[in-house]
Symmetry: C3
Subunit: 267 residues, 3 copies
């Protein structure tokens, strides 16, 4: 059942060939990076959040990515509307609970959102995922205060309840769905010094979910590509400024050989 480099690259080729339209309702901090990462992998990003038009856009998208990083009431209304429309049209919905656990407003909003529809994939760090069900979980701003492995039980409960794949990202990423657990050990510590690479990972989950029906496989492929491009970029970077640049260049040129040589995946 182990996902191979060839299978991952097949999805990259599918994205490049079909350039799926990925509708993002995301935060101000990362919009530019997210759009660039989606373009670099071959997808077609669009960032639209207004209540007046989110349904029209979500209805024709190949995936919808919702990220609560810099939410306010009008954006949350747009997220609910887009989510409902996407699900009614069978469009996969990927959710990033940025900073869940950091404030009550944030925790309440993301729980309501997840309960209102059925997400396809939820990707967050360990404390964000735990905060989805554990009232005592405290997130420090947007940085995790828990280890990924601690969050796996929470992920399994949430996944079961909402019938979706959960990706707990960290030094090792855990992707859980039904009875499967996939671990991806790619990535580099310098990636945590570039803002929004977690959000980029979520957006890539959207691109892969547009060409791969199994949500666990889509998320695992996205996390592998993310981690591989990140470690290749880190190896040629003096710091986080150049990492960000090389990351996009590498995504754009990613080959099957790059994936196969670096892939660290386990099931």
């Amino acid at each position: 059942m182990k996902i191979t480099g060839a299978e991952i690259f097949k999805s990259v080729e599918d994205i490049r060939a079909t350039s799926p339209l990925i509708h993002n309702i995301t935060n101000y901090v990362v919009m530019n990076n997210t759009a660039n990462a989606l373009l670099a992998i071959g997808a077609s990003p669009v960032m639209i959040h207004a209540e007046e038009e989110v349904e029209d856009m979500a209805a024709i998208a190949s995936a919808l990515v919702i990220n609560i990083g810099t939410i306010s009431a009008p954006w949350v209304r747009g997220m609910f509307k887009a989510f409902a429309k996407a699900r009614s049209k069978g469009v996969p919905v990927i959710i990033d609970p940025v900073g869940a656990g950091a404030t009550p407003y944030r925790t309440r909003t993301i729980r309501d959102l997840i309960s209102a529809g059925q997400p396809t994939i939820i990707r967050g760090n360990a404390s964000e995922i735990m905060a989805l069900i554990d009232d005592k979980m405290q997130t420090k701003g947007v940085d995790s205060t828990a280890g990924s492995n601690e969050a796996v039980h929470a992920a399994q409960s949430i996944g079961e309840k909402h019938k979706c794949a959960i990706c707990v990202s960290g030094a090792v990423d855990y992707i859980v769905f039904e009875n499967r657990i996939v671990k991806v050990a790619n990535g580099h510590p310098m990636m945590t010094k570039v803002t929004g690479l977690g959000c980029t990972a979520t957006a890539l989950c959207g691109a892969f979910a547009a060409v791969e029906n199994n949500p666990l496989v889509a998320a695992a492929k996205a996390m592998a590509v993310m981690g591989i491009a990140g470690e290749m970029a880190a190896s040629r970077s003096a710091g986080p400024g150049s990492l960000q640049m090389h990351f996009l260049d590498i995504l754009y040129r990613l080959t099957e050989d790059d994936i196969t040589r670096h892939l660290k995946i386990e099931e």
Copy 2:
């Protein structure tokens, strides 16, 4: 009548000498790039959108750039107010109909906006321009689904109706105004993999319109500089990440010789 490299560079020197204040009401995704491109060419960008202050800013700007990429109701109100004030003061107004045709809200808003005042230049891709008058035109998110040459007739109609120059950008850019059509064939396909370079082109139209009265000439000069800097950047870039960086460096150092050597313009 053909626009020469020397004439284009003369405008670059004018921008550098006078650093015109360019008031942008633009989208969240590209604000940073747009500001950086305007700074690199020598202009002085400002991003202000609130109803409470757009008129004060537009009134003293050398050009106003309106871009509907991530609109919502409060921003649209700011756009209408700024537009009216700019026109009453003789400030050139450049409009970017991002994603026109992608949703009814977007199409309606941009048509209302254009009809409410008299833009100086409208710059969009082929399907965005066609969507300004053709109800059947469908834009795929923010990417064009039509060829630039198909849009030239639409551009001529819109330009005649609104007495403004229209720039249809693509592999070849067509700039139409009154009875003239200028074609600029500079640029590089990798530019489409960097988010917001179209929006940057629109912002540069603002910088050139601040120092050049003829709207067709201003737009053609901006598109030539855009395309030349883009192809010079692409030639030294491994991918879209480095293209974005080199693009700014090249704009900053652009010489008359760079322009003359690369210019592909026809009338």
Copy 3:
């Protein structure tokens, strides 16, 4: 009393060791850069602006940074709430009066904000600082129209009235507090061609204020690190695109020797 390179580096080490949570309510243009600069120096940035949650976040932050670059009414409400909560909890508050003097709305808002609480540090360019008390001061968009030295008297008055340190940044930065004036002469002209480096300086003031109690010393250390990293970056950059990248890499790797070799500080 002169601040030494060793003392500055000590604060850098403190930031790296404790990764203080810096709560930013800042403008759309610079959010990404600001977050990246804070990460590169070792802090933990969070960008949250909604009324519903700013108080919860400000209460647990190590510093609050408020920047009025792209304000509108809902954001201003969030700024007031966060400011009040931060002060009640003893959290240092750093304010950036972007474009003060450019429009009446902007000038009025920033004056009200500063009067509503007691900032720890205010950092702006010369005309922004002067516009805080001088009704005749006109800022050209967000660029200064006055010299830093002209603004020192205004800075002293404002600092005395509001009991806070004022940093007037420019080719030479003046930091005033009580009876001290510190001058930092680091930096490079090319930095003015990268959008938001002033805003980044303000954010770094937040990171240093989180580990250094004296507001004048915190601001001076931040401005020295900013200027040193900027000039080191400029020396290896062909233009503002690469400057931005190198700047982050250099912040990330900054050594005591880098600081000591470049430091130009006077009191």
